[in-house]
């Protein structure tokens, strides 16, 4: 495949990234293997001894795992924003960041459902989900939606990468092992940059980006309906679908900003990931923060104002500083106020500060997911009248924390490996200045 001047230049700049593992990169990978090994042991303990090793009990039947599940599926929306919405609007500045966004989507969509599996008491019967599938159950909706979404995400990532695979295949100056060149050859599907090939990739990507928007809305809606369809206070809310979708796009944008900041630093991509990318994404984050804040406000205001007894039990827990009050304040301060504040004030609108705001926001969004799951389950309709403290109040055990850390480590590891396999910025998207 013929490269233009910009592409040649970019390929040269990115060659070190994909050619080899530097020593720090290797250390990083090995460091990630430690939490993963601990998680593997925790998983073994959980499978061998049963869910008794977790903090979950008959009242709080779901805990950290489900919060992680919502969180990971949430951040997978990074790709939905960029590849869906920005692609359709043909926003030019999105091009350098589509790969990071799509990688987040695919990797998070792989990790997220693992946490659902960790909640399942009988992993040996998972096939029942298919052979006895009941369409009435929101879990079946989730199985269908998430698998479709994952396929969509992988396809999008792949379609956008075919041109790049062809470039790696043909770039003789790249120092690649033979097996990798062969693999790129297979993955490039004999792409030769002919007009027909160009067109068919463009058409497919347009189609996919149209499909990925409703798909993304469906995925987090049905996820929220796992909660919304029950009669539990704090869950049984008509706005849960849109609330979750917005929260997902929001946290996805946050993770995208963080990932860009890290890659810019590690791979020295200041010439490619520009300040303007951070600022534009900062704007998107701010708008989403406002929308998310509005949803949060209307959700809790209505529950608090009407003060229906069962609802109030949950609200009281969230507002009580001796219970979940501080978490609730943090979730809303870091999750709503801080990002708006940082982006709204021109002096603070720098890549570093935007990234810091995004980091706090992503953490706050995780806390928020925990606050959605746990306090509600700690507020059953009947008084618990149980003297076993672990049945009354949920507190995660080391097994759950280890598997949480393991999931994050796996996410980072897959991301690192992916960045060694393909350039973090699509080479093929560089357009020659002569034509421009």
């Amino acid at each position: 495949m013929k490269l233009n001047d910009k592409q040649t230049e970019a390929l040269k700049a990115f060659a070190p990234q994909i050619e080899s593992f530097t020593k720090p990169a290797l250390i990083w990978v090995y460091a990630l293997l430690i939490p993963m090994a601990i998680a593997a042991y925790a998983l073994y303990v959980q499978v061998a001894e049963g869910h008794i090793v977790t903090g979950m009990r008959d009242n709080v039947v779901w805990g950290l795992y489900i919060a992680n599940f919502i969180f990971f599926i949430g951040i997978s929306y990074a790709g939905a924003v960029i590849s869906g919405i920005l692609h359709l609007l043909n926003v030019e500045w999105r091009k350098p960041i589509i790969r990071v966004a799509e990688l987040i989507t695919v990797i998070a969509t792989i990790i997220g459902p693992i946490y659902i599996l960790l909640c399942v008491g009988r992993l040996d019967r998972l096939h029942h989900l298919f052979i006895f599938a009941r369409l009435q159950s929101p879990i079946t909706w989730d199985v269908l939606a998430i698998t479709t979404y994952l396929v969509g995400g992988v396809l999008f990532l792949y379609l956008a990468a075919i041109k790049d695979f062809a470039i790696y295949r043909d770039a003789t100056e790249l120092k690649l092992q033979n097996w990798r060149r062969k693999l790129y050859k297979v993955l490039a599907l004999n792409y030769q940059d002919t007009p027909e090939q160009k067109k068919s990739i463009a058409t497919s990507m347009n189609l996919l980006s149209i499909m990925i928007i409703p798909l993304a809305i469906i995925v987090h809606s049905v996820l929220s309906w796992i909660f919304g369809m029950t009669m539990r206070p704090g869950w049984h809310s008509t706005i849960f679908g849109p609330y979750f979708v917005l929260a997902a796009i929001y946290s996805g944008t946050g993770v995208l900003i963080i990932a860009m900041w890290i890659f810019r630093k590690v791979y020295r991509l200041k010439d490619y990931l520009l300040d303007k990318h951070f600022i534009y994404l900062g704007y998107i984050m701010m708008v989403l923060a406002a929308g998310y804040g509005y949803f949060t406000f209307s959700e809790y205001l209505t529950d608090w104002y009407s003060s229906e007894k069962w609802n109030s039990e949950v609200i009281d827990k969230l507002f009580d500083l001796n219970q979940y009050g501080w978490y609730f304040i943090f979730a809303n301060f870091a999750g709503v106020v801080l990002p708006i504040f940082i982006v709204a004030i021109p002096k603070l609108r720098t890549p570093n500060l935007i990234t810091i705001a995004a980091s706090f926001m992503v953490l706050a969004m995780w806390v928020k997911r925990y606050l959605i799951v746990v306090p509600t389950l700690e507020s059953p309709l009947f008084p618990m009248q149980d003297t076993r403290i672990e049945f009354v109040q949920y507190s995660p055990t080391w097994v759950e924390w280890a598997l949480t850390a393991g999931g994050i480590a796996t996410f980072l590891l897959l991301f690192t490996l992916a960045s060694k396999f393909m350039t973090i910025i699509p080479i093929s998207e560089f357009e020659s200045e002569k034509h421009a």
């Binding site: 869910h51 008794i52 008491g121 199985v143 796992i226 369809m229 389950l377």
Partner: protein
């Protein structure tokens, strides 16, 4: 003990061992010493109280177990034809004797800390006075748990019962989150049951044996009902709190008296708990009016642990 030698032995009364326990469940367990020669002797002796009031010791294999029509998992999904089971719980008579709880645990071979049937101390309003409230599964006609099950492991039968097939359950616990009454319990670890119980053939109608990683709950003892007997909680209650019967026949019985279902509901102001949730429970409560026992009687002779459970209601100031 080989399961072949003990066909359909689901209620393993032998495990209970003590004379007292056997006397308590005497009506449900019959023995025929020496009569069944087809059984091989297993060498383990059991002491029993004979019908003449004598204490006898017989080989375990000679014990014939009451019941036990263990229907298949497929049959258990259908329900008993023509029936519409209903329960009436008379709150005016309950004094937290907890015989129902222990009978249920014995019957289903579940440990003491697992309560399919639990007794709450309820207080409806600030001015109201507390009363004891036995809580079974409500076997709702519009069951939120059944709706959400992704694999049809919990199901509604034609006779009104909501049961669980613990050989199909994947343990996602969605039904537990969906049930507003906290009825369901989960086997967080491997249930501790004797090898005899573990070898029993499972049916959703018996709910025995429990399995790790699956959900279980009060089943209204359909295997007993199939034989025309009352569920164990009903017969175990010393105060006749529980009435069980068939809504189609319009009769319910607590073992001592049999009454018209519609009549008692009409006369005594029977109600269903949290009617506004729209779940349509099959359990009706008679309001705790003209109570036979003062509420404190429910704590007489109870362990500190049990007293601790209800402290929020009994000492609301603290």
């Amino acid at each position: 003990m080989d399961s072949k030698e003990s066909p359909n032995t689901r209620r393993d009364f032998l495990k209970l061992g003590t004379l007292g326990a056997l006397a308590a469940c005497g009506s449900a367990c019959s023995c025929s010493s020496g009569a069944s020669h087809e059984h091989k002797e297993v060498g383990k002796k059991v002491r029993l109280l004979s019908p003449d009031g004598e204490m006898v010791e017989i080989d375990e294999s000679h014990l014939r177990h009451a019941n036990h029509s263990v229907v298949s998992r497929e049959e258990a999904r259908i329900g008993i034809p023509g029936k519409k089971f209903v329960m009436v719980i008379d709150l005016a008579k309950c004094k937290n004797a907890r015989k129902c709880v222990s009978a249920c645990q014995k019957m289903h071979h579940i440990p003491e800390d697992k309560e399919w049937l639990s007794i709450k101390l309820m207080k409806d309003s600030e001015a109201g006075s507390p009363y004891w409230f036995p809580k079974t599964c409500f076997h709702c006609d519009n069951p939120p748990c059944v709706k959400v099950c992704p694999v049809d492991a919990t199901f509604k039968r034609s006779d009104g019962l909501v049961l669980i097939d613990n050989e199909r359950c994947i343990g996602c616990k969605f039904c537990m989150a969906a049930c507003p009454y906290s009825t369901r319990v989960f086997n967080w670890d491997e249930p501790e049951v004797s090898p005899t119980v573990a070898a029993l053939s499972y049916s959703p109608e018996t709910s025995v044996p429990s399995k790790v990683g699956t959900v279980e709950k009060c089943d209204f003892c359909p295997d007993m009902v199939r034989e025309g007997k009352l569920p164990d909680c009903v017969t175990a209650c010393p105060n006749g709190v529980f009435y069980f019967g068939d809504e189609n026949e319009d009769v319910v019985s607590n073992g001592d008296e049999t009454i018209r279902f519609s009549q008692i509901i009409a006369e005594r102001g029977g109600y269903r708990y949290a009617e506004d949730l729209g779940t349509k429970p099959r359990v009706y409560y008679l309001p705790p009016r003209d109570r036979i026992f003062p509420v404190e009687r429910g704590l007489d002779g109870k362990s500190d642990e049990l007293k601790e459970r209800y402290k929020d209601i009994l000492n609301p100031e603290k």
